[in-house]
């Protein structure tokens, strides 16, 4: 099976869907002539032309809104945010238009649109360019929210997102575009809303998504090696709708849970998971559910300070030991 980088998997997903459906187009800053700020659209302008690979000026609320208006007419826009930090400028379009229009028009209009781009901290970009929007968008009824960590998942889920009749927020990661993985040559789709067991285990359920997936897998390795703990690493892949069933099934097996989040703790996706777990599996729990998150502060530029704010495998290993009462 060929291996691809995540950026190539994303490009292939867009290419295949653009070939499959003339209504699909890509719009955003630097997506065309520049080939994408992170090269996720390499070659697409050459293949599809300026009609379907549309460079925009720096106008996030403008092109997010144009995408929504076009989707209401039956087109299938893919809107690239250079980073989700800039989606803050388009927040009103996403939450007041994309998420509401199907509902507030009594179902007369739908908004089949994908907003995609890198989310969460990268490396030494300072506070305004190092934010995780997971909980912010997952909070909004009317949106689906996907967060991917492997080339295989990125391709299969992006294809599903493009075909989805609803607005989908699709989180990638600047830090992970070069991550390689196997991607089948034949076409496949991954349904939105299904978690994936990235590493089976018996002792602790370790929940993660996006950037926290590689961190969690490294932590599981440490826990196995140094603590004899077998962690079951579950990649949620979709934050809304949450695959509660997969989470609860694992919790009932392991009776202990650690949630690894590359995002802030307050009102986070992890907090939602804790709520569901305690309601649906209270009697199966042998320890309080523990979360490992970003520090609850804006990010710093300095390398050492930034590093300290991001959950590291060692932090997650410590949490795994804690819920297993190993200390």
């Amino acid at each position: 099976m060929p291996t691809l980088q995540i950026r190539e998997a994303i490009r292939d997903a867009m290419r295949e869907e653009m070939l499959r459906d003339d209504r699909v187009f890509l719009m955003g800053e630097e997506v065309g002539h520049y080939q994408g700020a992170y090269k996720c659209s390499q070659g697409l302008l050459e293949q599809f032309g300026e009609k379907r690979v549309v460079d925009t000026p720096i106008t996030e609320t403008g092109f997010a809104g144009v995408g929504i208006g076009a989707a209401m007419c039956g087109l299938r826009p893919i809107i690239e945010f250079m980073t989700f930090n800039f989606s803050a400028v388009a927040f009103d379009q996403i939450i007041n238009n994309a998420a509401k229009i199907h509902h507030m028009t009594g179902g007369q209009f739908s908004v089949p649109i994908v907003f995609r781009g890198p989310n969460a901290a990268a490396h030494m970009l300072g506070s305004t360019h190092s934010q995780a929007f997971d909980a912010i968008y997952a909070h909004i009824p009317g949106l689906k929210v996907v967060s991917v960590a492997t080339p295989y998942d990125a391709k299969g889920l992006l294809k599903s997102a493009i075909r989805d009749p609803n607005p989908v927020i699709f989180f990638e990661s600047e830090m992970m575009y070069s991550v390689r993985g196997e991607v089948p040559e034949e076409e496949y789709l991954i349904p939105i809303g299904e978690a994936d067991i990235k590493r089976p285990g018996d002792d602790v359920t370790l929940l993660c998504w996006g950037q926290s997936v590689p961190t969690a897998l490294a932590a599981a390795e440490l826990a196995q090696e140094h603590s004899g703990l077998s962690a079951e690493v579950i990649d949620l892949r979709t934050l809304r709708p949450l695959d509660t069933e997969a989470v609860i099934a694992s919790v009932k097996k392991t009776n202990r849970v650690v949630i690894a989040e590359h995002s802030w703790p307050f009102g986070g996706v992890g907090a939602e998971l804790v709520d569901r777990i305690q309601r649906l599996a209270f009697d199966w729990l042998d320890a309080p559910v523990t979360r490992v998150c970003y520090d609850d502060i804006p990010f710093s530029y300095a390398e050492n300070l930034e590093h300290l704010s991001i959950p590291q495998p060692e932090d997650i290993h410590a949490a795994l030991r804690q819920v297993a009462y190993r200390d």
Partner: protein, 337 residues
Amino acid sequence: MDLPDKDAPLPETLSSAGKAETLHAYREMLRIRRFEETAARAYTRGKISGFLHLYIGQEAIAVGTRLAMQQNDRIVSTYRDHGFALAQGCDPNACMAEMYGKKTGLVGGIGGSMHFFERDKGMWGGYAIVGNHIPIAAGHAFAAKYLGDDAVTICFLGDGAVGIGPTHEGMTLAGLWDLPVVFVVENNRYSMGTPLERTLPAADITSRAPGYGMVGDRFSVEDPFQVRDRLGAAIKRAREESQPTLIEILTYRFRGHSMSDPAKYRGKGELEAFRASDPFERVNRALRELHGMTEDELEALDEEVIAEMDAAADFADTSPQPDPDHRFKNIMIEGEG
């Protein structure tokens, strides 16, 4: 702003129109005015809640616009949207029921006064976050160009919306990409309670048009045929040349911003001066002076329209509320769409 008084000569656009079309336009303006008055009464009686923004004084714009449109053209408007819906042919019963929050409403009681949508009638909103529909309208125009159909999008905004970001970005993209859209600023002189002297850095809003690569056109509304002709030229430019236009129409609303606004900020004699220049009364005068209609005939027409709107209020009042489960409907679409 120089206002023609009520005895000024009738504008050529109005005086050259035939009786049938003048009567039709008048009837449509009258329907909007009586609808709004009926809604205002229902609001004071507690039948309508939330926000209610009336279009009284601006009717000639919605009616004139409709006259300039083709079947597949679209209106995208603000929360002051009732006039457009009625002019587009939406059923007043459904419109009134929407404001009463009833199952039989235009969008099933989900949207209320500010979110009138009827896709097949070209009534494409109904947006209530000031300025955020400008990029949406540009998006409809983008789709028309992408799909190669000839639909033109006509997007209305108030003078209060020209300062906010999405307006600037949406117009920038429309101009950059030569989108078939007409932006129409209904300048009714107030951004809620703040007069335009305190909100606009330059009095002439169309002075921005060249900056967006658009043609600008600015005029005081006199009658629906003038609006039809001026917008018609812009719609033609959009349809045939795929060129956007920025139009500013100087108008006036006779009521407050919304029902909760007593409009005490108006200058002395201002309301009276604008009332004396009301396009609605001007068309009424044309029917009497040019087309020989009598006061009795116009009174009979008024009674007929009042009865239509009273019936709409009764329909709304006696309609059922939405089913409890309806609140969960139309949020996410299942399957591939």
